[in-house]
Symmetry: C3
Subunit: 426 residues, 3 copies
């Protein structure tokens, strides 16, 4: 019974048109042009590299896309067990009619060519969106993105702020800021005002969120202006900062962002826990890992200081999930957000999804986002999540708690889409 | 087969009369008088607040109980998915014959009135106990509780010591201690003797446990008298202590409690990992959270120093469960105790229950306690736990290990009740 | 369907002949001679002690093996729920035809005598290996083991290095090193050379791995010779080191081991996270526990510095599993290795096994090792793991992902045996 029940619930969830609340889509080139765009996703390059393919072969300069795919295909068998490769196969089945059980040296070229032909059609982007039942997609925009030349109603801007918070010490960041805002930072007031004008620019262009990814050891706290001024002065004089000074500046910029989120009524997506460049010889975007010794208690001051700002929180470590559940259960402004990166595999999603549904108000849960770089990925990623969600709704709600199927389906739809609309004011 | 097997095991576990080894019941007013006593439980107020109900509306001074329930009912739909609301519905079904699938603005008043009428009957308390198959309930008594005016055979006193360990620096704590013991603390010997007289008082009145909740950063170690004397002198002179001095004093009082637990043969319940007042604008009792970066290694000295004291240990974080399992597997004096607070939802209980049953001697596991403030909560909370326990016994023991049903049921009864009797010397 | 599917997959996995990649077997006395060899395993003595059996009764000097078993049997009922006791029963069933559901005061003597008779036969060792389908077993050899007098093709040497890294400060360690290498350590070059000659000796005798267990607070980093020289001088003068100096020396020795692993092409097994002697009154080998606050980020420098060395990593804490999955997903030289000690119970293995199969390249997973001290343990331990593996392959791969049974079985066999052969160059 459980199986057919799950299937019925899944069917209803699959009918829902989605809004993807976090991606890295380039709106000027949202869909793939060859299979290399798909298999060049760091999930495949880093796994192939991890399984033994030298970085030089993957990232050879001037490498032809088809040749790149051919090289990656050689390693696919070693990765066949991964959830990531199951996404790849599902994309190929759904979009290109691929019917084999694996992509091999014997069949990849035909697949490549079929994909290239389909992708070359002008309607490809529309077809992907429509076949994926995807209506809107949130972006991850650099703070100096002009946000022009694309439909911001479909591709919703989001102000990504890692560079401002963690790389303001780099001259190129400050130059980009100056260019973007048309005014230069000379002191604290002008820094604040520059940041404010980014919010003005972004919200004017339909931005619905501010976002940042944060290393495990960062603890956002309010800094006194008097502590920041001398540090900022040193930065502006191109002097080297100590780690402690750099952290002071990071906290100041971060806090200022939160203040503007409050003023501009933007949710502030926190993606907590990533250490950058842990494996420096890794492939592009395949170098980051984490330290699970992080706690949301580090965000105590922030969550208390900004009751009017909604914080959709993603945690990189599965061991952080219970803290997230508990903080969202207590703090009105903390919302659970998706299943991020190293936690985005079924074994972890299951426990995380179940515990959130059992303990966090249903209106405070954003079920899933794709984190994708190319449009084709929304389909298999959301599909993976929906299957787990359907199973959880069937077992924990219909069977264990005696809910009607309709009620369970409504809960699923709320976390899949309804909450995205309300939380991000769509 | 698994389903009917689970049901048969569950039936046997449900027939068992329970002893609840940890609650916050007020023995002078154990049962509820209106639905507001139930829905005023912090699990509901904090979730309603988290879902958007202003604290002022929940905690308005002089608020009529019925009006309070009406306000909370407005938010119940947002919380319908939570395990906590499933307890509420189960209480209403079991105690008040409520048959709807949700408490709504349309049906709550009738429910409120039905409940009030039932609760007004003189036999209500007995009825709740009997319907819940509850024989004895452990209390959480302030150290200066006179412990008089109630049946200590049914409501078993427990000496709660948070104030002594963590708030001895407050003048009111010391005044309460002076009043309770009839002698004033002037130095280390008189402090020791005052604490000793609390143990005398409590054990004379049938206390079966000493208990404390502990923040994640506390590490109990033995302090030399010579280190404590100057700190105590400063406290008694009403001088402010440094954080370091306060910790020294806390460790001293804690260690002294353990010494008296040994002398008076009282188990010492440790509830490890709570940070108080993390969300200061939260509702009453809805302000505490945690930092998962805690380890039982912090208790190494304690567990080694007091082999004759049994420590039933509760951990707030689910990520601490494996340490608890491992420490109970090795240390004869460490016992696993229930599923506490943020870990008390099915998704976490399942893994924790399974791992304990697979690795800790069966005599060293206290399956569950209610942590309740009002008697009515024992029924749905123990019911939730029993369902998980029955499923675990069916799958892991009868099916996977070929145990007979009777043997599995006996194991379940041992952790549900038998161990409570032996561990607390009832 | 799921059940019979699992059984079919399990049947295929059971047919596979195994190589056990980590044990503590004494190759000169690999199998047990009485039941005391089995029940004297620390898993039983520590659990019996934890359940109340005094250490003095277990470790009484000159205690007759049969009397020892008799004493432990008295406590077995208290432990009947544990996975460990399920191994014991499975061994007795499989090897001695024991048919009762428990070992009791009424039946243990007959069992003891039957076992002793079987074990006394000259072919016992061969029978155990053959009945367990065990072809080769990795050892854990002290660095000064002569490695002679046994078949190193069946019992594969492994250079265990805890003493060198963490106890080089002890004169007896240095004496053993001098004796083993025939030359004395007088300075850094001679220390390096002594370590090198251990690798020469071990690899000449067929060693296939270097191994070490590591406390949670250790972070291997490269030390400058100039920092090590004064510390080494103090050690060689029998002076006491500070904790900081001792750590410097440990890091130096550790790093030197890694250098020789690279030179001799030996995988370096890291068993991360154990605190030794936490419970000092515990039974032999039943004193160690852990601090879950450890991160693989502590190994960043090591994993980056030695891309040519394969690191099969075991983690003691289940909460470290996701880090292990993620680091193995990114670092080509990090391999997941088995389910160690406190993580070696079904509830934890299930989640860990599933997540590894879903996210780590299939060629980089060593499914299981026995960690056994006596040959008879391989059978029930591998059996436990295989059942979980078969269930995971059935549910996550055949049912959820539509794999053929053959494909799922091939994956299972790869992690059970194939990878052991490739990773350890057998």
């Amino acid at each position: 019974m459980s199986d057919s029940l799950t299937q019925r619930i899944l069917g209803e969830l699959e009918a829902l048109v989605l809004i993807d609340p976090h991606s890295h889509i380039n709106p000027h080139s949202a869909a793939s042009t060859t299979l290399a765009d798909i298999m060049g996703y760091h999930y495949y390059t880093e796994l192939a590299h991890s399984a033994g393919l030298p970085r030089e072969q993957i990232e050879e300069s001037g490498l032809d896309p088809k040749e790149k795919v051919g090289r990656l295909v050689e390693k696919l068998d070693d990765l066949e067990n991964t959830a990531q490769v199951s996404w790849l196969l599902e994309m190929c089945r759904e979009f290109f009619g691929f019917e084999d059980t694996a992509i091999t040296s014997g069949n990849w070229e035909a697949l490549y060519d079929t994909a290239a032909a389909k992708m070359a059609r002008p309607e490809w982007e529309e077809q992907v969106l429509s076949h994926s039942r995807l209506e809107k997609v949130f972006l991850t925009n650099d703070f100096d993105d002009p946000l022009s030349g694309f439909d911001t109603n479909r591709y919703i801007p989001c102000l990504r702020t890692d560079d401002l918070v963690f790389h303001f010490t780099k001259p190129e960041t400050r130059e980009r800021l100056q260019k973007a805002t048309g005014s230069s930072v000379m002191d604290l007031p002008s820094l604040r005002s520059a940041i404010g004008s980014l919010f003005e620019h972004f919200t004017k262009h339909g931005a619905r969120a501010c976002a940042i990814s944060i290393p495990p050891d960062f603890a956002p706290n309010r800094e006194e202006d008097s502590a920041v001024v001398p540090v900022l002065t040193r930065v502006l004089n191109d002097e080297e900062l100590s780690a402690c000074e750099a952290a002071t500046l990071s906290r100041f910029v971060f806090w200022t962002l939160a203040e503007f989120c409050s003023e501009y009524k933007l949710p502030f997506d926190l993606m907590i826990g990533v250490n950058r460049r842990v494996y420096e010889s890794g492939v592009f975007q395949g170098q980051d890992l984490f330290d699970k010794r992080v706690s949301l208690i580090q965000y105590k001051a922030l969550f208390n200081a900004f009751p009017q700002v909604t914080f959709p929180v993603s945690v990189l470590g599965q061991t952080s999930n219970q803290e997230l559940v508990s903080y969202a259960w207590i703090f009105p402004n903390v919302v659970t957000n998706g299943h991020w990166w190293y936690s985005n595999i079924p074994a972890f999603i299951e426990l995380d999804c179940r515990s959130r549904l059992q303990a966090v108000p249903k209106t405070k849960q954003i079920g899933y986002y794709s984190d994708m770089y190319k449009l084709e990925f929304a389909l298999p990623k959301f599909a993976m999540y929906r299957r787990i969600l359907a199973k959880t709704l069937a077992n924990d709600f219909v069977i264990d708690r005696g809910w009607s199927e309709d009620r369970a389906i409504a809960l699923g739809k709320l976390t899949l889409r309804g909450n995205v609309e309300t939380i991000f004011n769509l």
